[in-house]
Amino acid sequence: MNLISLSFLIFCLITIFIYFLIPKKLQWIVLLISSTIFLFYNNFTVNTLIQAGIVLLTSYFFGILLDKYKNTKKSKIFLIIGISILLFLLIYLKYTNLFLTTFNHIFNLFNIPHQFKMQQHNSLIGISYYSLIMISYLVDIYRNASQAEKNIFKLALFWSYFPILTSGPFIRFKDMKYSLYAKHKFNYDNMCRGLVRILWGIFKLLVISERLGSYVNTVYSNVTTFNGFFIIIAMFFFTLQLYTNFSGSIDIIMGISEILGIELPENFSLPFFSKTITEFWRKWHITLGAWLKDYIFYPLLKSNMMQNLNKICKEKFGKKKGKKIPLYLSMFIMWLIIGIWHGGEYKYILASGIFQFIFILAEDLLEPISTKINNKLGINTKTFSYKLYQVIRTFTLFSFSMIFFRANSISHALSIIKNMFIWNPWIILDNSSLYTAGVDFLDFRVLIISLIVLFIVEFLSRNGDLRDKLFSQNIIFRWGVLFILIFAIIIFGCYGPSYNKTDFIYRQF
């Protein structure tokens, strides 16, 4: 079920209506039924049923066992078995082809005349999200940070809460259990706030992201014709498309949850105002970053293996340099996992993993040199212009890495980069060239105006939720803004039979 579809709208309206109509103690059951329908919508097969059974029963029983054998030797074994089952299912359903491709490359390298055929697995929606969410559930019980849920149906709701199945955010049981199963009274203000957030999400998706997508798709599918500045624009446009698509979906998810009275963690915090890639990743897909830090990076850094390595490196390279090696190694492993999580293809590993690691490593290693150069040249790093330069640099670096994310393959990405270095800036200046790449003159105008609106809204949101400011205005201004937003979506939104809608980019994960 697509987040922007009539079926999803009707589905949400029915869910919300029943949710507030029935006795409050039964509200979580309504959510469970809706989530089950959403989970199996158009995908109800024996295969998916078995998958759901494995995930739910593994999480439930190992959760109970971990709770029962807390602080004993057995608990570690139960944790390892539980995580292994969940990981095996995730790897089997999502990453089989990554392994098969790797084997095929190795066979080619050694001239072994055997090639594995790629496999198609039918997995439940949101597998990459709920697998990690359920792993964190088990780990938190093991760490005494949370207790196991004794009611399997309540656990099923935590696992399958329908709004987050498409694009996240990552939730944790200890943060969610009260709000998910609590009794919620209908709140008019929550409904208004939720609806405004949903509208803003739809605006980002239909008015901005889809238009950016038309341009990007045209350029990326024909880089020999649309080369040079066409590609440079497409490179920046794809980053914006990814952001508006992903954050727009999150806005809809947050809005629905807000109406239901369920609080979810924020996933974005103005990432494009970041001055470094490190800062960028603290503000982009926040819950994924936090999850990986808590469940991969820190445990890895504190592991015996890394502690031993730390000792050896300190002895060999000195205290300051020595402690960096295990840190960088842990970071590398974490970024590798982020890359793999984004998709079972090398291009994702490179774009979202390796490149980001290299950028962050370079920032760390080059920081003293950069400070020295700035001091020698007398560059004032506190000025607006310097900060602007840093913001543009971060945006450009991230956008460059995303060429690999969007391209069909690594070789396609390399061909895009090769064609990018063709000097044709006049396509921006003449009156027609720019409008031949899938977005015509009028659509381009709508796109630019929408991006300016997006920038203003993001800029004004730096000091808090802009909705608070909107709702404190008088009714004429407030309603005026809402009607402009609604009719901008209705008129300028890319939907209906004349559009080939691009799916939600993060839905595939």
Partner: protein, 346 residues
């Protein structure tokens, strides 16, 4: 209570703005939209057909001459198979009207029509059972994907995208010249070869589906005792097979007891095929003036039609005629009354 009231007011404002927005973004204004917005029982003649109808019959001129009102149910490339549904719909609102059906496209297979041609008619009809039946028939016969059926019930998903195509036409009132659309250009600027209409006894069978649709329409009219006059407009038919198929349609209509006028054979009309057409299929304002003067008189003489010229309820018909005359003068630098007097039909 205050919050509920606020929500209701918000919703009402939204609906008003929605209505205004889609009135502008909707299809270019056409006669069908005007027809169904007009008051009930205000049309004496209902004229149904494709673009020939609104380009050929000057409704305000007919009113000015004889005082009866004509409602046009006509869009560009309107599939003939929709005629029955348009009559059903018109009958609901204008019980005593007589019907003129232009059957120039009766031999044209509905499969040759594009979704857009069908939409222009169906999307202009009111949402009711008749529209639903018309849609089902069109979807089945034109083999349009059922996947798009939802867009016929929620057409804004299609038309919201027309913001790029908005012209001054979208802001016109639907009742401009009471549905008549004139073109002042002449064939002299775009010479076309004229082929005379073939003899009526030269026949080729209609496609099975076309024959079925035609018979279905005729039997419906007969059963409901609807007064219908079938007309074939003066135009240049270059396709010999098509003319012979049209002759077959004439034969079937006559056999069922309905009157047919083939204006291609009406010499008194004096249509100059090099001067009175603006393209191969349509009469320009001069040709349509000749056609209207002749045909309006014929209708007045053969049917009992009222004269509303002294009725203040119909004053808008006079003002639209005056507007037409002014616009005609602006475009052609000629006085329309003189043009009418020159033709000397009345």
């Amino acid at each position: 209570m205050k919050k509920t009231l606020k929500s209701i007011i918000f919703l009402l404002i939204f609906l008003v703005l929605w209505n205004i927005t889609f009135n502008i973004l909707w299809l270019d204004k056409n006669s069908i939209q005007y027809f169904f917005k007009a008051k009930d029982n205000t049309f004496d003649v209902v004229y149904i057909g494709s673009s020939n109808a609104y380009a050929h019959f000057n409704t305000v001129l007919a009113y000015n001459k004889y005082g009866y009102t004509t409602g046009l149910l006509s869009t560009d490339l309107q599939p003939f198979s929709l005629t029955k549904y348009l009559i059903q719909e018109a009958k609901k609102h204008h019980q005593n009207a007589i019907y003129v059906v232009d059957f120039a496209l009766a031999a044209n297979d509905i499969k040759n029509f594009k979704e857009g041609d069908i939409r222009k008619t169906i999307d202009s009809m009111p949402f009711d059972e008749i529209r639903k039946n018309a849609l089902n028939m069109a979807l089945n016969q034109a083999k349009i994907s059922k996947k798009n059926i939802l867009n016929f019930y929620f057409p804004f998903t299609l038309y919201h995208n027309r913001w790029k195509e908005i012209t001054i036409n979208n802001f016109y009132r639907e009742d401009l010249y009471k549905g008549y659309l004139f073109n002042e250009s002449t064939i002299e600027r775009k010479p076309q070869k004229y082929t005379p209409f073939t003899a009526e006894d030269e026949l080729i069978d209609l496609a099975e589906i076309n024959e079925k649709n035609l018979i279905d329409l005729l039997e419906y009219c007969k059963k409901e005792q609807i007064k219908v006059l079938f007309v074939l407009p003066s135009r240049s038919f270059s396709n010999d097979t098509y003319m012979k198929k049209t002759n077959m349609a004439i034969k079937i209509i006559k056999e069922k007891g309905f009157e047919v006028i083939n204006f291609n054979n009406v010499k008194e009309l004096n249509i100059d095929y090099n001067k009175d057409l603006y393209n191969s299929s349509h009469l320009n304002v001069y040709g349509s003036t000749k056609y209207t003067l002749y045909f309006a008189k014929y209708l007045k003489e053969h049917y009992s039609l009222p004269d509303h010229r002294k009725d203040s309820l119909y004053s808008s018909w006079n003002s639209e005629y005056e507007r037409f005359k002014r616009d005609f003068k602006k475009l052609t630098k000629q006085d329309f009354t003189e043009v009418v007097n020159n033709y000397n039909y009345s």
